[in-house]
Structure formats: structure tokens, C-alpha cells
Point group: C2
Chain length 648, copies 2
């Protein structure tokens, strides 16, 4: 469309711009556009959005500096949305601006009054056709033309009522121009989830897991993630502690998927059968949880696909299949799939088979998948798979387990992954955390990939956790669960399990990957009370459901990390919900410091006192000004303040 | 194209990405791409370019960190180019990397040698079809398979010759994927020009200007820019010093274009006729200069268009035409054109008429236009006009005289303007200059708009020039002419004319816009020797022809601005051409300082001595290390060092 107004949408956009950005139902999502025109006219702008069934809205955008207009949308349905920014020349606003200057300079306004009236006439026509009330505009035009009044009174009729200017500003007018981007909207849990990972075999199978559900519900988790539940290969099966000579009865790694008993669509007989699995899914639902499965596209040498489809694997000149390697390391219990076999028909068959496996579990009621190592399979495969599954089931969530370089992690988010594992596990100092979160919470990252913070996994025991006391687990838990809305822990975390495989190995000794582990979750001390309290606070506070409003604050002690989150119109009495978190990054010693809060940005800037209520200790502090003093002692089980701030 | 390799071109790109970026014939132009693939394969990449007649080239790209590949192209013809980046999986390189690790670990390589030989077989086929020599590759494959050799010798055959690896790396191989962008290539003068602006009427018309040409040639200018040469309106004609009551004989502002004697395609009779103009164009050419005209789309009330096409202007309710205003200021001698009349046919007629005016002057041999206030006419108009003129005449250069906000200045470059006036005129401190130039010399700005630095214009007398001695003019001249490859001055600058219209007005008193000005260009002292020396140095040094390699260096005195430019393969003995400039920003006092040169980046980093030859004083300094000491005294006419650096 040829128009004098140029509109470019700057947000929401992914880095490549060609794929839809992401948000969540109910999430206030910023829209930013660069809108420019030649000359000195005033511009108006509005944004509109609509979802697959037509649900959507329309909102005025606010003009900032240098042609930047901003607005916000909050979607109400799942699926692909259109976001449109419209901009136009607001001739009435330009006339209004100039006529004030002309009047101040004492110029003759006779002609100008008629010019203004004609702008209003035009708006009346537009307002009528767009359904807005045109009465005020018509009255103002009549006033401008009323020869029985003084010039000042006529002018006032056309200028005074701000309501008229506001009504006029809402009518898309001359030179209408627009730009459009796509936006993918996920369901709420895609943007707000607390994951708990456990190996069902350590609980005797699905039945035993069902018995754990009340405990997990009390802890406040809402996603129960199970490592692969499929039959496990026996060729080159790994023994305890990743050894190559298993003892009889060693169960093997669940990621060595497939045996004579079946592949990715089968269930390991020792866990239960399909009926047992369905019972677990249903029981989890009753306890407010969803079951998430592992989607790990690789095969043990005993997987049915190896015999049925040797063309899906890389063959060596001697006819054997190439096993997984990171030269010179060998992983003979795993055959990687070749996702790009030379024959296009083979590729189609393979990709379709991978999709069928996923749809099999979707049909059994699973809607969340943790995807193992997606960065070792083609981006094009994921883009196709996720789009094709979400077309039918837009509620399916994919968590990318990719610990790789930033451009590839971002690309996985861009091509469709719902959530992403991150480097949080390796970020420990205040500087590292501020820098990394600053990146994740900014555009385009925050519009492209949703971080899911894991302080540990079955494979990763890192940083302060390795030789830390239970307080180290406590502080990492508070960080993971309050810095981002999505986080998870692996069973045993609450007990502070921290025996490393060796001094230079970040895996666990006696790792549950290779053996059954029995735990006493009632052992003391443990972090269950802290976990319950934080998860309850997460549910109470809309501010903790978003990453977009994350803001770091100053403190004169580098061992204290200070950050806030806010949510508009959702707090006490419909006001702003404000949460402030102060974490002691030192798990061994008490730390104190004077904060430097940006209270203006928090909406507490008028010098009046405000209350900081610690949700972990149920203690209320009455603060004034930007420099409260805090003290946190890990020895008494206080890793952090989780403060709800409110005026008064 | 479906491929496992993702290719995204990051440079050359304009901010919107949808319009071609810019470069110049002969200009080394960086290309940057993000190229990623799943897994751990090695990737190869190459860039290709081709112009309208098929001239172009092909070059290997170099892998940097995090999936970034860089390369460079140097176009040889004018016009729209295609730039293609191809990327592929280099299986041989991956095999080579891994087999070294396998060999070091003492693994059995029998099968691996055959794997490598097959990769080479494949490359032989590809190399043959793409014309590269395949002999070395074939020999290497045979060596890998030679059972009469030891395994080590066979391996060496496939690995040792780096030439083989290099040849293999040049063959686009498996998973070929590509991306493409458009690039607009201008002729050399678009990227390297020295402008001199003068009012022909002050020299008695075109004949008098011809007499000035030898002087301007001696000064080293190559563009002679004339303000509008058209008939000037008499209605509301401005008198001297912008007064509203002209005396009889006052010539008026040349920007009040049009009278009974004609409009934009006519010549003011007092300057000469068309034959005289053609003579000036030809004479300028003989003196190594091009004539640039002003393209100012506005009309005096006496312009023929006002009578012939009242629909091209804004009509007020009383039937009159709205004159130019910046309320409450009135410019009654100017009628702005309404570029977007309501009737589409009117718009088409108007835009076509504006194009015809331009083509009229192009047909008379003019190829450079300084465009007056383009930011007050629609972007869509310029995009159409420039594209349609350059389609037939790709050598036409458009300089945008837009002093407006950065997003609009950048947008004008993006939609086609060849060069842009800038904020240089208002940037004076070291910090301001470093910050502003850092922005202009970085992507996407440097790929989008070409700055043309003017220390003054007929309307602008700013900063240090306002009350400065001649040395102020000297230092601003050196900055303008060496910071960017395009710059210009307005006649009188060389004499240090600096009488402001008033204390708070940045225009000149007795401005040449409103009256004839006679000058004695031989008056002493003046800057002619400096100007000649700098322009000669600009022509000698390829380094001064580009903005892309600008680099600022440290100095312990903030009054000294230190920067370098380099050009590869163009300096002494075909090496790197290196120019270092040190400017004393203080026009009144001598300043000394110790530099902190990034000599490594300049290619002088091995601790050996190097020579710094000052092209302004013909003095040579022998320096060693990164901390030479400099002293500049404006009292003896030394505003700057303009140093040619070379090893030895």
C-alpha cells in the first residue's frame, strides 16, 4: 500500500523476523513500531490482534521519542495470531497544536477555525463508519463555526474538551498505513510452570509414582517429567556409574531406547503397561500436575528401527552402523539417527515415523515433551515437526534440552520450541546472573525463547551445589523459581544430594541414570518447606508469572542479588503487583547490605512509606525511601527475602 | 530450499532489510552471515556477487565465533547487484578433524581411511563439475586406500597436504544452502567527493564561475555545487538579511523558485542561458569537476505551476494557497507542494512533473543533485523517483539535505539517497565526534547512508567557527575532509568568514542567500594551502577513500582527536595504506599529548620502528611502539598531523 506513513514493527519479532514471535495467553506483551512520515504532521497509531477464532482487540499506541510508538496486547486464546499496527496522519491533532501557537501570536484565526471544523467534519464521517460516538466531534465543529461567539470562544469549542481530542485520536484517518507480523500464543503453562523430574523405576514403576503425587502436589509442582519410559537396549548396556561392564540386573540408561520389546512407542514392562500409564496421567491431573515425557530421537542397537530401517542410520564402508561418538570417546550403546538420508523418500518416511511416535503419546493425553538434544537434529526437522503437531494440537509444549552456543539456542526457540534449558546452571555470581538475565529478558530473546531454569539435572551438578551445604541448594532454588516463570528440579535436589562422579566430572556418583535410587524424602533437614512456600508465592503473585518486567536493583554488597517483577492491574485492590527478591549468593555466611531500589519504576516513588512482606518468613517490614537495609543468614535457613511490596 | 544448514545474511543489510544496502565501485565491502547447523559437522561457506552485466566474483568466507562467517566483496560495476552466501557441510573437514583424534588415541583406523577416501571421491566429482583441479584430491584418496603403505603413511596421504584441504574446502558440498540480498553499487564519486558550494550570481553568472574553475581545481575540489539557478519569485521576495521589505534590485533567495520567466526547468536570465550553462558543465569537466544542481521542490507564488496546477498545493477554505509556515512563523515567499493531493491522477501528474524536471537537467549532463529538505516530502516519492531515474541513469547521485531525527535520516539513505548531510556541523568535542563517527562507521548505518560532512553551509555557522580564529576553520576542515570520504565547504570558508546574523542565530550576517557577495580569495591569511594539501593527500591515499576502516585511538589529552584509516593492498609496494590523523580540537592554544595507538590493528605491531610522514608539513618522524608524543600549535598554522605510516 502506497502511503506517506512508513510503519515498521520492531516487536514482537524473532531475530530472523520471518517466524512468529511467542507469547502466552494472559501475558501482557509489548508491541513496538517505528512510524515515520515526512514533514511535521502529528501521527496516530493503534495496534490490533486476532487469534485463530477471531478473538482479539484493538488499542491505541503511545508515541515515544524518535518515531517509536509502543503499545501492549494481552491475548486470550491459543494459536497463531495476526498483529497489525496501523498508523495515520492525525490532521486534527496537527491543527490543534498549530492553532494554539497562532492564537498565542495574535494571528487572525478566521480561516483556521474553518480548517479545524473541516478536520472535525472528516472525523465525524470516519467515526460514524467505525462506530465511535460522533456527537462530541460534531458539536465541536459547530462551535468552531458559530459566528455568534467570540473567536476565543469558538476556538475553545474546538480545543477544550480533551475527550474530543481523545475521540478524534482514536479514529484512523488520512494516509492510513499498516504493517503486520505473526505471533504464536501458547497456553498459560507454557509460560508458567514448575517441573519435577523423577525416574519411575526408582519408585517401582507408574504405580509407585502415583503414590508420590500428594507429596509433589504439596510441594507445588505442576509438571511431572519422566525420563524415557521405553524398553532399554541390552547391547553395550551401561552399568552403574556409566561403566561398560554391567552386572546382571543393572537396568541401563533409559536414553538407550529400544529393545526386542519395542521402541519409542512402547513402555518398559517393568514400569507398567499402557493402562498403568493412563492411570498415572489421570492421577497427576487430579493432583494439579501434567505428565511430561522425554522425546529422545536415538536408538539402542536393539531398537526395532535398526532392523526395519537400516537406511535411517549412517552405514560405514564395512557395512556396520556408526554408533555415537565424540572422538575419541565412543558411545556404543547408542545409534544416532541420520535425519538426512540421501534418498528423499527415506527422509520422508523417517520424519513421519518420528512424528507418529509423538502423536502416539499425544493421543494418550501427553501434552508436554522434554526434547533430548534437539541441537543434534536438523532445525528443519523441528520446524516441520512442531508446526505440524501444533496445527492440530496447539496446546503441545516442547522444552528444548540444548546446551549449545547462543545462536543455536535462540534458533531453536525461533523455529518453534516452547521452552529452553539455559546456561543458568553455570551462572553463579551477581555479575553473571545480571548480565545473563538482562539478555534473556530483552527483545528479541524474550519474544523468541522462554528460559526454563534448572539448578541441577541427572547429568549436571555444578558450581556452588557441588560442595555446598543445603543452603546452596536453597539459594539456587530461589533464583531458579523467581528469576524466570519456568523452572525445574531433579528428585533428590530437595535433600541436597551432591556427590559428584569425580572431581572433574559434573555428573553424579551413583547416578540414577544407571541404577535405581531409593530416597527418604522425609529426612531432615530438607528444602520441602522452602519449596512449598516459594511455589505458593509464585501462584499468588502474577508478577512472578512473567520475565518481561524483571528489573535488577543496586546493593552495596555484591553477595546480594536484588531484583523485582511487577504486573499491572493484578495486585492488591487491582493495582500493581510488586515482588522484590533479595538472594544471598553466599551459602555459608550471613550477608547484609543497603539496597538501592528504583522505587520510582516500581511505582513507590513518592516518598511515602511502603510495606515489604516476606512471604517466606511471614514477616512485614515498613520501609521508606530507596535504601532499605537487609540481612540474610543461611545458618538459620534464610537464603532470601521474597517480598511482596505495597504502598502504605 | 530444505537443507540442514541455515544461512542468514547479516551484512550488507539496511535496518529494514527489505531495500538494497549500498556500496561503491572498488570499495572493499564486508559480508557477514550467521550459518548454523545441528550437531558437530564442519561447515564451509562462500560468497558470490554479480552486477547488472554479470560482472562479479566468488570468495571463500572465514569462520569466526558462534556461527559467524565473514568475507568481503569489491564490485567493479555500477548498479543493482545480487549477493549470495552459500554454505554447506564440509564432511571431509569433519572427518579430518576427527581422524586426527582417533589416531592420537591409537584407535583402529582401517574403516576410517576408507570413509575419508570416499569423502575425497565425492569431492573429486564435485570439483570436476565445478572446474577445480581434482588431481590432488584423487591422489590423496588413492593414498588412503594404498594397502602397501603403513596406516600412518596412508593417513598422511589424506591429511598432510594443506593444499588438498584448501582445495576440498572450496568445493560446495553436501547440504548446500544459500541466502541472497540485493546491493546497490554506486560509481566512485558517490563514495569519494570534495564539494565546493558557490552562488553563481556573485560571480556575474556562469561565465564568471568558469573563471573560478582553475582556482577550485588547484584547491582539489571535484564537485561544484550551485544553489538553485532558476528564476526567482518577486511576490514577498526577501531583502538582505532575510528582511521582508526588499530594496529595488535585491536579488531574493534562489530557493524562492519560479517566476513569469519559468520554473524548475528554467535558468535565471541573469546567470546566462542554456548554452552558457552547458559551457560551464563542460568547462568544469575539463577541470576535473562535476556540476551539482540543487533540487528544491517548492515554489514561489509566481511559479508557473501555481497557475497551471493549483491542485498541487494546499488550498485553504477561503480559496487561497497555504504558504510555508512553522507556526507562528510565516514564509509567504514559498508555497510548499502537496505531494499527496486527494485525487490519485493529480498525484501521478505531479510526481511525473517533478521527475521530468530532474530528467531535464540529467539530459543536460548533470549527474549530481543536492536535494533540498527531502524529509519534508514523502519517503514514497523519493523511493519511486530515485529508483526510476537510476534505472536509466545509475550514475546519478542524490545528496539528502535533511537535518532531522536519526531514524528519518537513516530512512532517506535506505530508500535510495546516495549521500546525506549529517550532524557533524554540531559535533565538536572529542567525545561527541568519537561517538557519532562510531555510529556512522558501523553497520547498519555504514551500509545504508553515506555521510557528507559540511563544517558550514550558507545557513549554518556553528560551534567553534562562530567566534573562532582562522585556525578553527582549519581544524574543522581537516576533520570534515579526513573523517569521511565525502565533504564540502561553502565559499568564504577558506577566508574564515564568521559574522553571525545575531548572537542566537546560526545564520550569517549579510548572507549570500539574499545578496551578492564579492570576495578577495587572494586575501591573506587564508586556508587555500591547507585545503590543497589535504585534497592532494586524499587523492594519494586509498585509505582516505573509505569510512569502513575508521578507528579511533587513545590519547592522554582530550583536546587531541586521533584516528586512523587503512586500505589493504593499496599502499607502499602493494601493502597496506595507513593514514593516521591527529587533530588539535583547540583552535587557540598549542596542545601536546602521548598517543595510545592500536599498532597491532594497524599492522605495525612487531615492535619494529615505523615512519610517520606528515603530509601537511612534509616532515618525517621515526617512531617505535604505541606511545608516540605529538605537539600541535595552531599559532603556526598547524591544526593537525596528517600522517602516512609505513614500516621501517
Amino acid at each position: 500500500m502506497l502511503s506517506p506513513v512508513l510503519v515498521d514493527i520492531l516487536r514482537p519479532l524473532t531475530p530472523r523476523g520471518s517466524r512468529p514471535a511467542k507469547t502466552t495467553v494472559g501475558e501482557a506483551t509489548p508491541v513496538l513500531a517505528l512510524i515515520i512520515k515526512d514533514g511535521h504532521d502529528e501521527l496516530g497509531a493503534a495496534l490490533g490482534w486476532s487469534g485463530p477464532s477471531g478473538e482479539g482487540g484493538w488499542a491505541r499506541m503511545t508515541q515515544g521519542e524518535l518515531g517509536r510508538f509502543s503499545g501492549e496486547l494481552t491475548p486470550t486464546e491459543v494459536g497463531r495470531h495476526r498483529v497489525v499496527v496501523q498508523a495515520w496522519t492525525d490532521r486534527y491533532a496537527g491543527w490543534r497544536r498549530d492553532v494554539v501557537k497562532r492564537a498565542a501570536a495574535g494571528q487572525d484565526l478566521t480561516v483556521e477555525l474553518e480548517v479545524g471544523a473541516r478536520h472535525l467534519d472528516h472525523l465525524v464521517q470516519r467515526a460514524t463508519s467505525s462506530g465511535s460516538a460522533a456527537g462530541g466531534l460534531r458539536a465541536a465543529a459547530a462551535g468552531l463555526r458559530d459566528g455568534s461567539l467570540t473567536v476565543d470562544a469558538r476556538l475553545a469549542a474546538g480545543l477544550r474538551p480533551d475527550a474530543i481530542a481523545a475521540a478524534a485520536a482514536l479514529v484512523p484517518d488520512w494516509d492510513l498505513s499498516e504493517a503486520e507480523v505473526a505471533l504464536w500464543v501458547d497456553r498459560e503453562r507454557a509460560g508458567f510452570s514448575a517441573w519435577y523430574e523423577l525416574f519411575p523405576r526408582s519408585y517401582g514403576g507408574f504405580g509407585g509414582v502415583i503414590e508420590e503425587l500428594p507429596r509433589l502436589e504439596a510441594l507445588g509442582f505442576d509438571v511431572l517429567y519422566l525420563p524415557p519410559i521405553h524398553p532399554i537396549g541390552h547391547t553395550y548396556r551401561k552399568g552403574r556409574n556409566n561403566t561398560l561392564d554391567p552386572e546382571p540386573g543393572d537396568p541401563g540408561s533409559p536414553w538407550a531406547i529400544g529393545s526386542e520389546e519395542g521402541g519409542h512407542d512402547a513402555i518398559h514392562p517393568e514400569l507398567g503397561d499402557e493402562a498403568d500409564f493412563l492411570e498415572l496421567v489421570a492421577a497427576a491431573q487430579r493432583h494439579g500436575m501434567e505428565v511430561a515425557l522425554d522425546y529422545a530421537l536415538q536408538c539402542s542397537p536393539d531398537h526395532p528401527w535398526v532392523r526395519q530401517h537400516p537406511e535411517w542410520f549412517t552405514r560405514l564402508p564395512d557395512g556396520s552402523i556408526r554408533y555415537a561418538e565424540n572422538p575419541p570417546k565412543k558411545y556404543q550403546d547408542i545409534y544416532p539417527i541420520d535425519f538426512w538420508p540421501e534418498d528423499t523418500a527415506d527422509r520422508r518416511a523417517l520424519w513421519t515415523a518420528c512424528r507418529e511416535v509423538l502423536v502416539h503419546w499425544v493421543d494418550l493425553g501427553v501434552r508436554i515433551f522434554r526434547v533430548d538434544n534437539p541441537h543434534t537434529k536438523p532445525f528443519a526437522f523441528w520446524e516441520w515437526l512442531i508446526a505440524s503437531v501444533q496445527e492440530e494440537h496447539p496446546d503441545v509444549i516442547f522444552l528444548a534440552e540444548a546446551f549449545t552456543d547462543p545462536p543455536r539456542m535462540l534458533a531453536l526457540g525461533e523455529i518453534g520450541f516452547t521452552q529452553s534449558y539455559t546456561y543458568f546452571t553455570w551462572r553463579h555470581s551477581r555479575w553473571e546472573l545480571e548480565q545473563y538475565l538482562g539478555e534473556l529478558a530483552s527483545a528479541p530473546s524474550v519474544d523468541t525463547m522462554r528460559p526454563n531454569f534448572w539448578p541441577n539435572t541427572p547429568d549436571i551438578l555444578e558450581g556452588v551445589l557441588r560442595d555446598g551445604p543445603l543452603g546452596a541448594f536453597a539459594l539456587r532454588f530461589v533464583l531458579a523459581s523467581t528469576l524466570t516463570p519456568n523452572y525445574g528440579i531433579f528428585s533428590g535436589f530437595e535433600l541436597g544430594e551432591n556427590l559428584p562422579a569425580s572431581a572433574d566430572n559434573t555428573e553424579y556418583w551413583d547416578s540414577e541414570k544407571y541404577q535405581v535410587v531409593k530416597r527418604d524424602y522425609g529426612a531432615q533437614p530438607n528444602l520441602s518447606p522452602l519449596i512449598s512456600a516459594v511455589n505458593a508465592s509464585r501462584r499468588r503473585h502474577p508478577a512472578l508469572r512473567t520475565l518481561r518486567t524483571l528489573r535488577f536493583h543496586g546493593c552495596d554488597n555484591d553477595q546480594l542479588l536484588v531484583y523485582s517483577k511487577t504486573s499491572e492491574g493484578t495486585g492488591t485492590a487491582g493495582g500493581r503487583d510488586i515482588v522484590l527478591v533479595v538472594v544471598n549468593l553466599d551459602p555459608r555466611s550471613p550477608q547484609a547490605g543497603t539496597l538501592d531500589l528504583e522505587i520510582g519504576a516500581l511505582g513507590l516513588g513518592d516518598g511515602a512509606p511502603y510495606t515489604a512482606h516476606d512471604e517466606l518468613t511471614d514477616t512485614a517490614y515498613s520501609w521508606t525511601g530507596r535504601h532499605p537495609w537487609v540481612y540474610l543468614n543461611p545458618a538459620v535457613g534464610q537464603p532470601a527475602h521474597l517480598l511482596h511490596l505495597r504502598p502504605g
